[in-house]
């Protein structure tokens, strides 16, 4: 912080230094000594005054810096004094702008060889590497780590296979990864169950209010996520489907015209094996405005399961009219007899 008193004192003492010889006997040794001492004091005060003008990094080391400025102003009377003042201001503004030019913020290079130098394994053939017990365990371990970046629907069946691997390290890692996928969803389910319970207490037990509907909607989606990501097996899968359906129907009881929920109900009934009800739900979802491309594949699958192949072909041909659905293209081509 700039101390103006110090500056004022520096000027006054310097003026005093020049006035001293005039007041005393101009040529005497006393006058010279008085000048030198007073001028020295003024130089030090000037140095102390100007130091805070400089940027912090320019003032270190502190004592030599003060010394330099004091000596400059002391050995060259008047000009030195002025020079220190001007020099400080120049240094302050010139160096500051120069400093900014020197350091620009840069983005990291996209392909940084140094940071990539250890990589060896590539993402290809994860499935082959994982299922081949002849591949060294460290390589299979790294393949497992790569699975962390893949969606649960694809990675969980692979991880489940590894649960029976001969290598305990791999088994444990696979378990840990599956567990964390499942845990994230289960925690979300617990949270929504609490919200739903509280909502029932505040909004009433019979009909769900807005908070309750939102919680039930999320619960239905979360239980379905357990099924979709292949995280629930056997009885657990059946349980998750039943729960998802139960919450979906709770939402539909309040909002019967929501096409998305009607569609989910259809998918869940389909998964439960209640095929006629599922077909009704799919048809209703389409009536409620869901695009045909969303509904037709499910209807086709359903008629296939009912062994009604003519209807399956007919539905697939309808799908053929839509240019979307690139993933389904090979199936559509097959059923359209191309």
């Amino acid at each position: 912080m700039l101390n103006s008193k110090l500056g004022l004192w520096a000027i006054l003492v310097e003026l005093g230094a020049w006035a001293g010889p005039a007041l005393l006997d101009g040529n005497s040794e006393t006058a010279l000594a008085s000048y030198l001492v007073t001028h020295a004091v003024a130089s030090v005060l000037l140095a102390l005054f100007t130091l805070p003008v400089l940027a912090a990094e320019q003032t270190r080391p502190r004592l030599p810096m003060i010394g330099l400025m004091a000596v400059c102003s002391y050995v060259v009377p008047v000009v030195g004094f002025m020079g220190v003042l001007i020099g400080t201001l120049v240094l302050r503004f010139y160096r500051a702008s120069h400093h900014e030019d020197d350091f620009k913020s840069l983005q990291l290079p996209e392909f940084d060889l140094h940071q990539r130098m250890q990589s060896g394994f590539r993402q290809t053939g994860l499935r082959a590497v994982l299922s081949n017990s002849e591949v060294p365990t460290p390589s299979r371990m790294r393949a497992m780590v790569a699975l962390q970046h893949i969606s649960g629907r694809i990675s969980s069946p692979l991880l489940r296979n590894v649960l029976n691997d001969a290598s305990e390290d791999l088994r444990l890692l696979a378990y840990g990864m599956l567990d964390s996928l499942e845990r994230n969803i289960s925690r979300a389910i617990d949270k929504e169950l609490d919200i739903l319970q509280k909502a029932r207490e505040t909004e009433g037990q019979d009909a769900l209010g807005p908070v309750g509907i939102q919680a039930a909607e999320k619960l239905s989606a979360l239980y379905w996520e357990l099924v979709y990501q292949n995280l629930a097996q056997g009885d657990m899968r059946d349980h998750a489907i039943r729960e998802s359906l139960r919450y979906c129907e709770m939402v539909l009881a309040q909002q019967p015209h929501m096409a998305q929920h009607t569609m989910r109900r259809g998918v869940l009934l389909h998964a439960c094996g209640r095929l006629p009800e599922a077909a009704e739900a799919y048809a209703l979802a389409e009536q409620q405005g869901l695009p045909a491309t969303r509904v037709l594949p499910y209807l086709a699958e359903l008629s296939f399961e009912q062994r009604d192949f003519d209807k399956t072909r007919q539905l697939m041909q309808q799908l053929d009219e839509w240019s979307a659905l690139p993933k389904l293209r090979p199936v559509i081509d097959y059923w359209s007899a191309r």
Binding site: F111, Q115, S119, L163, N164, D169, D179, S186, L193, M236
Partner: protein, 517 residues
């Protein structure tokens, strides 16, 4: 204020990390058994833990022959009380450190030479050595070394994370050097794991020439590696272009390597190196143990404590599946609960009991309770807390173990002694315990069933198969009793350890004699 016993000397120092007397479980009961089995020896217990708040109170009473107890928490005092002073650091020591880092990076030295170099550094880390903790934390040499290694090797962009990882990772080694320096005089060191406790044992062995016995239940290095691979607290700051999905984050690799080297350091000093069963012994050899120093001593139990319970069993097998163990993730209690959903679907009056403390990982215990709620099993699955095994055994039909990792679980043997068969996951030595090891052992027949890990369906089906078929259950029970009586009694285990201690004490005596001459 602590009332723990203190002594100037003891026969055997037990070096324990995160277990007896603060934590209940298989390893802790084994330690309790061993101490009480040898009243002729005095023990000093050196307990190592992470932070004192994780270990509020003893779960076991210290036996009378524990004459000394001390505890050290490696991550309790990480911040400095005073402003550190600038310091240079010993250039010669840091030159050795740079050489070690370079050698380990290039893999030019064999493990023995690398360990020799590490020993030279750990020697200087002792109080009064040339490489004090303050030099590591505050010296210019250390700063330069951290900056250089970051520039040369670190593949994570964050220097700040690298800097703090290095400090946090290595700081406990100075605490252990101090513990080793101040420990009372003992004749034998006995560690129940590698890791920090094993490293402490190796430090003491190097400094004092005292024999180090290592008894590993699980394989510490492997368990740590799995924990580290899935832990979420280790940062990975690489952006999408820097990240190779098959490559572990640099900090994760650093932690894994630390524990690998702590393991090797301990294996190099320990003799004998004892495993509970053959697979673990082979793993020890794979991780750097000298095969000639390794052998197995299986766990054993006191038959007389459990055999009277056979008479108390009801005529009908109770449809009760009991998981006896701590409610912690490694026991995979959730798979047991999920299996109960299927069991109850098939056998509506079945019950699942979870008998074990829930306070070790309260968040996990809560998740388990939530799972019971979300599966609608509130009337079928009970959390009993800690229970006396003797009270439980006559009231249950099956002992169930759904763990993802075990060594040689005492609870299976306890069930066998009481005539209760087991359904277990295929971990550790469970297959050997259920199906038998040798031809003679296998001839006894299966004493339960083994299923894959995290497979609730298979676990449930195996349990239903035994509960629904009283004859099969009876055959399994008979095989269980025969197996435990023939192969897994505590008298066999104590006799093996008596020989281990006798030999180690003789080694200690001859080392002392050599020193005095």
């Amino acid at each position: 204020m602590s009332q723990h016993p203190k002594a100037e000397q003891a026969d055997i120092a037990l070096l324990l990390e995160g277990t007896f007397p603060y934590v209940s479980g298989g390893v802790s009961s084994w330690i309790n058994q061993i101490i009480r089995a040898f009243p002729e020896y005095t023990y000093a217990i050196i307990f190592l833990g992470s932070q004192s708040r994780d270990y509020p109170k003893f779960k076991y009473e210290l036996p009378a022959n524990v004459v000394h107890f001390e505890q050290h928490f490696l991550y309790d005092h990480l911040s400095a009380n005073d402003l550190p002073r600038a310091r240079e650091g010993d250039p010669a020591t840091f030159r050795i450190l740079r050489d070690i880092i370079e050698t380990l990076r290039q893999g030019t030295a064999d493990t023995a030479s690398a360990l020799e170099m590490l020993r030279a550094v750990t020697h200087e880390m002792r109080p009064g050595g040339k490489f004090p903790l303050d030099d590591f934390l505050y010296s210019e040499q250390s700063w330069e070394l951290i900056c250089d290694t970051y520039r040369s090797y670190c593949t994570d962009p964050s220097f700040v994370d690298y800097f703090w990882t290095v400090r946090i990772m290595f700081q406990p080694l100075w605490t252990l050097a101090r513990v080793a320096h101040n420990m009372p005089a003992v004749r034998v060191l006995h560690s129940a794991s590698t890791g920090y406790a094993g490293y402490l044992g190796a430090l003491l062995h190097d400094a004092r020439g005292v024999p180090l016995v290592l008894s590993e239940h699980g394989i510490y290095t492997k368990e740590r590696q799995i924990d580290l691979l899935k832990s979420e607290w280790i940062r990975d700051n690489r952006n999408i272009f820097q990240r190779d999905p098959t490559e572990l984050s640099y900090f994760r690799q650093m932690w894994i390597r630390l524990f690998e080297w702590l393991g090797r350091y301990c294996y190099a000093a320990a003799n004998p190196i004892i495993a509970l069963y053959e697979t673990n012994r082979l793993r020890q050899v794979h991780d750097g143990a000298d095969p000639a120093r390794t052998f197995n001593i299986p766990n054993g139990i006191q038959l007389s404590r459990f055999s009277p319970m056979r008479a108390k069993r009801p005529a009908q097998v109770p449809p009760v599946l009991c998981l006896i163990g701590r409610v912690v993730p490694i026991k995979d209690v959730k798979t047991f609960i999920r299996a109960m959903r299927r069991v109850v679907n098939q056998v509506p009056d079945a019950e699942g009991w979870i008998a074990g403390p829930t306070d070790e990982d309260q968040a996990y215990a809560q998740e388990c309770q939530n799972l019971v709620r979300s599966l609608g099993l509130e009337n079928h699955v009970k959390f009993l807390g800690f229970q006396k095994v003797e009270d439980l055994m006559p009231r249950i039909g099956l002992v169930v173990l759904s763990s993802i990792s075990e060594a040689l679980p005492l609870v299976i043997l306890e069930g066998y002694a009481a005539g209760v068969p087991t359904i277990s996951t295929d971990v550790g030595s469970c297959r050997q315990l259920i199906e038998g090891l040798s031809e003679e052992d296998r001839a006894l027949g299966p004493s339960g069933s083994v299923v894959g890990i995290a497979d609730p369906q298979a676990l449930a089906d195996a349990a239903i198969a035994l509960l629904a078929d009283p004859e099969a259950w009876q055959r399994a029970s008979t095989a269980a009793i025969a197996r435990v009586e023939r192969y897994y009694t505590d008298t066999m285990m104590f006799e093996s350890y008596r020989q281990v201690y006798r030999k180690a004490l003789q080694g200690s005596a001859s080392a002392t004699a050599t020193e005095t001459h």
